[in-house]
């Protein structure tokens, strides 16, 4: 508690407050732009913080993260085209509301839902993260390796239409992660004698290439000649009747979102859908669902925001990214030489608590700034598409070049960007690749460390109860398609299938 107050003291200095405000505004502005989800927003805005000290940079990131998520839901409501997976469900009810002239109410329900879900989620971070970190300190290399294997399996199996394509994407990521010097022996792998490659491929370059360059090329190949026309809105507000319908969904959201965000199951996509189904079942206005029921906006938005908070718990305490945004943020930590994980709360206590405090501040700023600014954000949806995608390539180049001031990185980004294009064309999800790049080297180290302790015996990988439990879960996921065949009655799909996974770009 005292540490949290210290965190507030750090975060509330005028400079940091300014960083938080800039982060929220930039994050929302970039997130609102069609085609840019929170992961791409964070990746594109990374270079802005290269010159900053870490605390200020992460305070800004917190703002960008929540701002980007909020921006995504605005696109969903006003254009009916979710820019990211967390906002897919919002479009179900949000867009019909906007078409009926209730866009202002939909935006208000989304904004307040974000605020509520985010605040409750962040309170849960405060309560849970130190506890998890304290216990995670004791878990050893075999357990960490098991958890990373679980993350690999979950990210390729739980989401996406095709498992083999998910695995292919993961392996591409693992291959990119292999490039460079072996961390334990210093031997060159896949460097082909190039000094540039000996340092390894910068994760930021990979992230920007896959999310921004790949996306821009892919959209260019199929650019919609007549972009959707956004629905104009006024200032968001809620009537008493609306409030009566929305406060319960707002409060229920975190209960679904937070736990799902914390486990490696692909972030907000599943929980927002569950929240939607729950609200539909509990609503007194079932007939309105599909035609613009406000509960269907309030619940999922609160859920999405809380799941973002859950993601942060896993990312900060275990160093395990469960969503694309968390993966990019982890990469950002690493560029500062900070390794998220169990020891983070001891080694970087000041930074972590300032970051958590700034989550509260960022959420409040988001609510205060975005309700009045909503009509302005809606105007951003009209940006001419040539400028939008030219701008994405422009800032991607700035970001990749600024990492090392090296033209080689631009060429590398181009090659990986073309790869990202091909992956989008043939339905290979991008998220497993980025998780592979980030977690691959860490997983290899944990595995080799475990085997070193056991003198090469494979039992060294399964010598703790926790590792065994995790491997059982892994096996259950792997063999689930087989198990399902033997289940007595397959549960019928309860509701329209969620739109195919769209990794938030």
């Amino acid at each position: 508690m005292e540490q949290l107050l210290d965190g507030f003291a750090t975060a509330l200095t005028p400079t940091h407050l300014l960083f938080a405000a800039i982060g929220v505004l930039l994050g929302t502005a970039i997130g609102v732009l069609p085609g840019i989800g929170p992961a791409m927003a964070v990746a594109l805005l990374l270079p802005v913080t290269y010159g900053m000290e870490p605390t200020g940079a992460f305070i800004m990131f917190a703002g960008i993260y929540y701002g980007g998520m909020f921006g995504g839901s605005t696109t969903s409501i006003l254009l009916n085209t979710p820019g990211e997976s967390a906002a897919v469900v919002t479009a179900f009810e949000g867009n019909p509301m906007a078409r009926k002239g209730r866009g202002a109410q939909a935006l208000a329900a989304a904004a307040i839902g974000h605020f509520t879900g985010g605040i409750i989620g962040t309170i849960l971070i405060v309560l849970l993260a130190p506890f998890v970190a304290k216990h995670a300190v004791d878990i050893g290399a075999p357990d960490l390796f098991a958890i990373m294997v679980l993350a690999f399996i979950a990210v390729t199996s739980v989401l996406g239409a095709s498992r083999v394509r998910g695995v292919a994407s993961l392996l591409i990521g693992l291959t990119i992660g292999l490039v460079g010097l072996d961390e334990m022996t210093g031997q060159q792998r896949l460097t082909f004698g190039s000094l540039h490659l000996a340092d390894g491929i910068d994760v930021i370059v990979v992230a920007v290439a896959l999310f921004a360059v790949g996306e821009a090329l892919w959209v260019a190949a199929h650019l919609r000649r007549k972009p959707f026309v956004p629905i104009p809105v006024g200032r968001p507000w809620l009537s008493k009747a609306d409030l009566k319908r929305t406060w319960k969904p707002w409060l229920r959201g975190p209960a679904i979102g937070f736990p799902f965000g914390a486990i490696p199951a692909g972030g907000a996509e599943i929980p927002t859908f569950l929240s939607y189904v729950t609200e539909k079942r509990l609503s007194k206005h079932k007939d309105e669902f599909g035609k613009g029921a406000i509960e269907g906006v309030a619940g999922p938005e609160s859920t999405a925001s809380a799941s973002a908070a859950g993601t942060l718990v896993t990312m900060l305490t275990l160093g395990l990214p469960t969503t694309a945004v968390a993966a990019v943020m982890l990469a950002a930590f690493q560029t500062y030489g900070i390794q998220p994980g169990p020891l983070l709360f001891q080694r970087e206590a000041g930074l972590v608590w300032a970051l958590i405090a700034s989550l509260f501040i960022g959420l409040t700023l988001l609510l205060v700034l975005n309700l009045p600014l909503a009509p302005l954000w809606a105007k951003l949806l009209r940006i001419p598409r040539p400028y939008l995608y030219a701008g994405i390539l422009f800032f991607a180049s700035v970001g990749a070049y600024a990492v090392n001031a090296d033209i080689f990185d631009l060429l590398l980004m181009f090659v990986i960007g073309v790869l990202g294009f091909a992956m989008r064309r043939y339905g290979l999800p991008v998220l497993p690749a980025i998780i592979g790049v980030i977690l691959g080297p860490a997983a290899e180290q944990q595995m080799r460390r475990s085997l070193q302790l056991s003198d090469g015996s494979l039992t060294g990988l399964v010598n703790s109860p926790m590792a065994i439990v995790v491997y059982v879960i892994v096996l259950l996921i792997v063999f689930f398609p087989l198990i399902r065949k033997f289940l007595p009655k397959p549960t019928p799909p309860a509701a329209p299938a969620v739109e195919r996974e769209k990794v938030d770009a």
Binding site: A161, L178, M184, T185, L190, A220, P227, Y389
Partner: protein, 167 residues
């Protein structure tokens, strides 16, 4: 001949399988040449994981090929500005790649303010913008502003090139 072409066009995803095979072979041949007789710490050396990843790449390539030959197709990603009903517009993609590579080629020679402007204008042109006065003005403005903000305000150095040396 045309029948073969049509057959391949329908199954162009086999290209991904070929890519996976190439990657797998690359990873495996590279792993084999890593000398392990010295400096090895622990029972598992630097070879093990590349050999695992390389072999899995080959296995997945075969599995994916089997899926494609049985009629499986990867679903192209949709998006707000993506219209999948039209065939791919390769001219736009190639022009865009050209604009991107032009920046990479020129940034060291003429500096970021100029090469960035060329990138933005070129990309906007590739994507169908034809405002011959407004586009270059926006490109130049954005490029110079970005340079000033990053270089002078944020402390992230970008190459100024001859243009900035004049000031």
């Amino acid at each position: 001949m045309t029948a073969t072409k049509a057959w391949l066009r329908e199954r162009s995803e086999l290209g991904i399988c070929a890519l996976l095979v190439v990657l797998g072979v690359l990873v495996l041949t590279d792993a084999v040449r890593i000398p392990t007789d010295f400096a090895q710490r622990g029972p598992v050396g630097p070879k093990a994981v590349p050999i695992l990843v390389g072999s899995l790449l080959l296995v997945v390539a075969v599995m994916l090929a089997r899926d494609v030959l049985r009629g499986g197709r990867g679903e192209a990603e949709s998006g707000e500005d993506v219209d999948l009903s039209e065939p791919a517009d390769w001219r736009t993609v190639l022009l865009l790649c050209g604009a991107f590579l032009a920046n990479a080629a020129l940034i060291g020679v003429v500096g970021f303010p100029i090469s960035g402007a060329i990138l933005f204008w070129g990309a906007a042109y590739a994507l169908g913008s034809r405002a011959y006065v407004r586009d270059p003005l926006i490109a130049a403005g954005l490029s110079i502003l970005t340079f000033a903000v990053f270089n002078n305000l944020l402390g992230v150095p970008l190459p100024g090139g001859p243009l900035m040396e004049v000031f």
